[in-house]
């Protein structure tokens, strides 16, 4: 494997075949030559890279619990400030926190909010695979409407998850941080650019990165890039950034593909294609279009 790519996260790890998480981590950490310290929430990334006595991490790394990657990162930031003041360290490393959507949208939201509000110097990266995948595919605040999950299963009375996903970007933006962006593992060049900007931003910055999960979105292991691309080509997952409060869309599909093109690639939406759930697909399409228009209006008023 490319030595440069694996400089910070080694090729020896235990993520599933066809998982994009290592690509996200390598792209983000590869976006800087500066020293970094990683704080990681409990989840897929953590359990697949730290099986004792081995570690895949070639940079200082800490995992302590599920809901506190941001609070732990904040503690490291405070420690560096204090140690620098005392002359014990010359230079601060950039603290980068990684969490899945469960650890970010749900159990870690309060800790993230606190760390953003206090203005710590750190980058928080949420790899969003739209559910609790490490525990076997339960619904989270990031799971899309209509998806079949273990805790929002399809049945005679149920079409899967009955609620819309949280708009985490708007929640994070409301903290007034200088830089945040939505990215997608299928667009690594775009992710790298955003990671560079985020890492160069003094104070808190945030990246929300779509991570299609081969296991629990239920698609072949070879397809994660293709499915990631469809998420953005259908406007289900727009690529955009918010810099000093100003919105910029980074990718506008020439012709927006219908949402069915994305949904039909995945087992978690299979039930929507029966006669009974046609209406749900119409609703999802309407929601995607509404969200895109909202985003365009935000760009226009920036």
């Amino acid at each position: 494997m490319n030595k440069d790519l694996t400089k910070r996260l080694s090729p020896g790890h235990a993520t599933c075949a066809g998982c994009g998480i290592p690509a996200i981590v390598r792209t983000v950490l590869g976006a800087t030559e500066e020293p970094v310290i990683v704080s990681n929430a409990t989840g897929c990334l953590e359990v697949t890279t730290t099986i004792y006595p081995n570690t895949s991490w070639k940079v200082p790394y800490i995992h302590s619990a599920f809901g506190n990657a941001a609070a732990t990162a904040a503690g490291i930031d405070a420690a560096q400030k204090a140690l620098q003041k005392k002359g014990k360290i010359q230079k601060k490393a950039k603290v980068v926190a990684f969490g899945g959507d469960g650890g970010t949208y749900d159990i870690g939201l309060q800790a993230l909010s606190g760390a953003l509000e206090r203005g710590h110097d750190f980058l928080y990266v949420c790899y969003d695979n739209e559910g609790y995948m490490n525990t076997g595919g339960q619904r989270s605040g990031a799971t899309p409407y209509g998806a079949n999950t273990e805790t929002a299963p399809v049945g005679v009375e149920s079409f899967g998850k009955g609620q819309q996903r949280k708009d985490l970007m708007e929640i994070v933006k409301a903290h007034g941080i200088k830089y945040l962006a939505q990215a997608n593992v299928a667009y690594l060049a775009d992710l790298k650019k955003k990671a560079q900007k985020a890492l160069e931003t003094p104070g808190p910055s945030f990246l929300l990165v779509l991570q299609p999960c081969t296991n629990l979105w239920k698609f072949p292991t070879s397809e994660y890039v293709a499915i990631g691309k469809l998420a953005s080509e259908t406007n289900f997952w727009p690529l955009y950034e918010i810099e000093d409060g100003n919105y910029v869309i980074n990718y506008v599909p020439k012709e927006r593909k219908p949402i069915e093109d994305f949904l039909k690639t995945q087992g978690r939406f299979k039930h929507l294609f029966g006669e009974r759930n046609k209406e749900i697909i119409t609703q999802i399409q309407a929601e995607v279009d509404r969200n895109w228009e909202k985003l365009e209006r935000r760009v226009a008023s920036s």
Partner: protein, 389 residues
């Protein structure tokens, strides 16, 4: 050190702990307010505001984050401290075994308080008893002086053991009561605690370490045994550090347990925390009447000083164990520890009664304690738990 350099001050327990922390000058103090702990962090924040310190104070959004940030800072090589009480301690409970499992020398000053529900903000040991199996060293202070001493020495003890330490004082009875406290000079405290060694921290970019790995069926067991062995070294380390502090301060500072009129006693009380002072008054009063009574005060509750307790109580006939907490559904916590400790010793022949006192801040008077001694003497030793209501 010359004793004449120490200062005598009138301080509350909370202020005394803040004063000790100011002298220790931790790198990071992560705090979240809760009564009756707040006097510690408020006093400390004022000292910081007055320019006495350059500690990074983190005003976090919850106790869970207070302990998480402390863990992050400590793993990064900083001297990291927090303080809490009651619900706050339970809110951070998830992080407590992680702090000890990661072998981080964190100090959390505690003003102990009752647990909800019903809501009660007053002194009790229910909170710290609920977390007694989290792998932390737990030290109980009798008064503001000892709260000060413990806050000074906990940092040193934690860093020596590479384990977190919880110096505990009784909420309100100690945290809010003004007492005479001998304060050591700043430079003496700083020399005593020294600098934290930062090898193996997250700061090391040349030899990066991974904290908080996943240990499965083949290794987890060994991790826990090693950690427990390390915790058991706390008794000897604490005794030695107390001796050092005795020399420095010119005050006699006991190790894990303090014996009070125990040598020739026939009846004794085992107790810890603030009510020990009242209990000593009761012992004095009964001694004046010619009663052979004594007291054993537990200063270090975790690890439980089994040898010291067994040795101190071996010759007694009857013992009353005083708990300021329940262990709902079983015998009271300290009572359990004393009974199992004595049962383990070769000459188990004691009669041991269990008394619960002071829940939710209820006052415990000298006459209540004297009554317990009378019951011991009268051989009123049924196994049922008695409540000093």
């Amino acid at each position: 050190m010359k004793n004449n350099t120490k200062k005598i001050k009138a301080l509350t327990g909370g202020y005394a702990v803040a004063e000790a922390l100011r002298q220790v000058a931790p790198d990071v103090l992560a705090v979240y307010p809760i009564t009756p702990q707040t006097p510690i962090i408020e006093s400390f924040a004022k000292m910081r505001a007055d320019g006495d310190l350059d500690t990074e104070i983190m005003q976090v959004e919850s106790e869970h984050s207070a302990m998480s940030a402390t863990i992050g800072a400590s793993a990064a090589g900083a001297r990291a401290v927090t303080a809490s009480s009651s619900q706050g301690i339970l809110y951070m409970a998830e992080m407590l075994p992680i702090a000890s499992g990661l072998r981080l020398p964190i100090v959390m000053a505690v003003s102990s308080r009752a647990l909800s529900a019903p809501l009660n903000i007053h002194g009790e040991h229910g909170d710290v008893m609920a977390v007694r199996d989290m792998g932390w060293v737990q030290l109980f202070a009798q008064d503001a002086q000892e709260a000060y001493d413990h806050a000074v020495l906990s940092i040193k003890l934690a860093e020596e053991l590479e384990l977190p330490v919880m110096p505990i004082m009784d909420g309100f009875h100690t945290s809010h009561t003004t007492e005479r406290v001998e304060v050591l000079p700043d430079d003496v405290v700083r020399d005593f605690v020294g600098e934290r060694r930062t090898e193996g921290s997250l700061m090391d970019q040349e030899n990066p370490v991974s904290y908080g790995t996943l240990a499965l069926q083949d290794t987890y067991f060994e991790f826990k045994i090693e950690q427990n062995k390390a915790l058991h070294k706390a008794g000897a380390a604490y005794a030695r550090i107390c001796r050092e502090l005795s020399v420095m301060s010119g005050r006699k500072i006991e190790g894990s347990v303090e014996s009070y009129h125990l040598d020739d006693a026939e009846f004794a009380l085992v107790i810890m925390g603030a009510t020990s002072g009242t209990a000593k008054e009761a012992v004095d009063a009964l001694r004046e009447k010619g009663k052979k009574v004594g007291l054993l005060r537990i200063k270090m509750y975790r690890p439980f000083p089994q040898k010291e307790v067994a040795r101190a109580l071996a010759h007694l006939k009857s013992i009353a164990v005083f708990d300021r907490a329940l262990s709902p559904g079983s015998y009271a916590p300290l009572y359990q520890d004393v009974v199992t400790t004595l049962h383990d010793s070769a000459s188990f022949k004691h009669e041991i009664a269990s008394y619960i006192y002071g829940l939710g801040g209820r006052d415990t008077l000298q006459k209540d304690i004297e009554k317990a001694f009378t019951e011991l003497e009268d051989k009123d030793m049924s196994s049922k738990t008695r409540y000093l209501q």
